[in-house]
């Protein structure tokens, strides 16, 4: 049996998204900037896609900038806020310790350019506290950027409350909604979001397309210079097939959200319950306040990559925050941020589900995992030491 349980990494493109894309390669393949009819047909698709996406997140079409994905949108949001702040002498940014690297690495760059960044604690449950955001806001704060939901442990942040707070304090608010879009409701107006990033391939759209939403009136800094596409704020011929696919995928995801959310959540809860029955397995991140499809546990005494490889042999695709899967010697910054010690962080296992997963698949995972864990533990000096101590 093949079980794809790595939907937080990327998703399978939905049939609706794929069907919407295919004609863009062979029929409406024009450049949307061309005045001839094939170009104009592409331009029409671009306009329609922009309207669809804007409607789905409570924005205006003019507030949508198409990017290559979430990372680019995150980069542009931070650069935009930093440039605006610098003009007013505001060089302080508030973020959290467990943002995606697209945010953290851009913040590191801004720190080298003289910005000061406050990285808020996310505590053991992986949720930032509103009062901490409030305390951190200073007269020179240019931006608050907090992710909507965490990519590793799936914890949902109090975005609506932070948005209201930032509005009251007159501070720009950005949220990286890459993991949330298509899975949780988004309304940038009601949630007082000034800037937002999302990525198509996390909700059954294609890779290579994303959205940078910017509230009207905020002067945008371009990070890619060239032609006048996207009102001069993002140069480069529009990736029409991917943008069309993204709009179709988001439409489908939002239309079905009310059905998919409880369905996926039930699968998630069944999986969590089953995993926690195993000896020395802990859930990472808040149990309730998490994405419908996110399961993240630490299996004590074993290392994540070997666990993933064993699961893969059984056809199960998952991910881990162990150092070995990150290409560095350190385990995931997210797991360290919620206070896990290194051994336990190395033993993390993320299973991220979508509406394409079935109950049979959950049963299959729960059947295959325990013997694998037992086998790896039987050869683990860390596990033996743990047991001796007890």
């Amino acid at each position: 049996m093949n079980v794809y349980a790595d939907n937080a990494a990327t998703t399978r493109v939905s049939k609706a998204a794929l069907d919407s894309m295919l004609p863009c390669f062979t029929e409406t393949y024009g450049n949307a900037s061309s005045p001839h009819h094939i170009g104009q047909e592409a331009a029409k698709l671009l306009i329609a896609s922009r309207k669809t996406i804007a409607d789905l997140i409570g924005a205006e079409p003019s507030e949508i900038i198409f990017t290559s994905g979430g990372s680019e949108a995150d980069n542009q949001a931070l650069v935009t806020a930093a440039n605006l702040g610098a003009k007013k002498g505001k060089k302080h940014i508030i973020s959290t310790k467990f943002e995606h690297h697209a945010i953290l690495h851009t913040l590191n760059k801004l720190e080298k350019e003289g910005f000061e960044v406050t990285y808020l604690d996310v505590y053991e449950n992986g949720v930032v506290r509103l009062e901490d955001v409030e305390k951190a806001i200073r007269p020179d704060t240019a931006l608050v950027t907090v992710m909507y939901a965490n990519n590793e442990i799936g914890t949902i942040q109090p975005i609506t409350e932070i948005g209201a707070l930032c509005k009251e304090k007159g501070v720009l608010f950005h949220t990286d909604a890459v993991q949330a879009a298509g899975h949780l409701p988004i309304n940038v107006k009601e949630q007082n979001i000034d800037m937002l990033s999302l990525s198509a391939h996390k909700f059954h759209g294609p890779k290579g397309a994303g959205v940078f939403f910017v509230r009207r009136g905020i002067p945008i800094s371009a990070i890619i210079e060239g032609g006048a596409q996207e009102r001069g704020k993002r140069a480069g011929t529009e990736n029409i097939p991917a943008i069309v696919g993204m709009a179709a995928a988001l439409q489908e995801a939002c239309d079905n959200m009310a059905v998919n959310m409880p369905k996926v959540q039930a699968l998630r809860d069944k999986l969590i319950d089953g995993l926690l029955k195993m000896d020395e397995v802990i859930l990472n991140g808040d149990r309730e306040n998490r994405l419908p499809g996110n399961v993240n546990v630490s299996v004590k005494g074993i290392e994540g990559e070997s666990l993933l490889m064993m699961l893969d042999i059984q056809g199960i695709c998952a991910s881990s925050g162990s150092a070995c899967t990150s290409g560095s010697l350190d385990p995931s910054h997210v797991l360290l941020a919620i206070g896990l010690i290194h051994e336990v962080a190395h033993g993390s296992l993320r299973l991220s589900l979508s509406e394409y997963n079935t109950e049979e698949e959950i049963d299959y995972i729960l059947e295959k995992l325990p013997p694998i864990v037992e086998r790896l533990r039987s050869m683990s000096p860390v596990w033996k030491r743990m047991k001796e101590v007890k």
Partner: protein
């Protein structure tokens, strides 16, 4: 990152897993911070390694390098075992991805640490050039 068939073979069917009671030499290398800990147990009779076992907490490459290293020193003399290099371990596995080369270093160091323990237990001095280089303390490898 792709593993060779040899790595997959030793990962899925690791040789010589276990412990040796009253082993003549035990070596533990690596640390939890980097995510790989390897423990090697040796039984030595008349200067010959007559049994070797390992326990490893770590990634696929760490398990595979431990496994093949035990095979490579089984039945060998101490002098031969001391000649085991991380390069030889990696080559025996038909290569390792660059980020996993440190696992082959752990295997070499694990064997040396176990032999150091053997010398120490016998109250003998281990030849200077054969001593462990880093003791598998991964904090230096960052």
């Amino acid at each position: 990152m792709l593993y060779s068939e040899k790595v997959m073979d030793h990962f899925t069917n690791p040789r010589n897993v276990g412990e040796i009671e009253n082993a003549d030499g035990v070596g533990e290398v690596g640390n939890a911070k980097c995510g790989d800990i390897m423990k090697i147990f040796l039984k030595i009779d008349d200067g010959i390694i007559t049994d070797v076992k390992f326990n490893t907490f770590g990634c696929g490459a760490a398990i595979a390098t431990s496994s093949i290293a035990t095979e490579m020193i089984m039945g060998k003399s101490i002098d031969e075992a001391l000649k085991l290099t991380n390069k030889a371990v990696a080559e025996a596995l038909d290569g390792l991805p660059p980020v996993k080369m440190h696992c082959s270093v752990l295997a070499e160091e694990g064997v040396r640490m176990a032999l150091l323990d053997y010398y120490t237990k016998r109250g003998e001095e281990m030849p200077e050039e054969c001593r462990p280089k880093c003791g598998g303390d991964c904090s230096e490898c960052e």
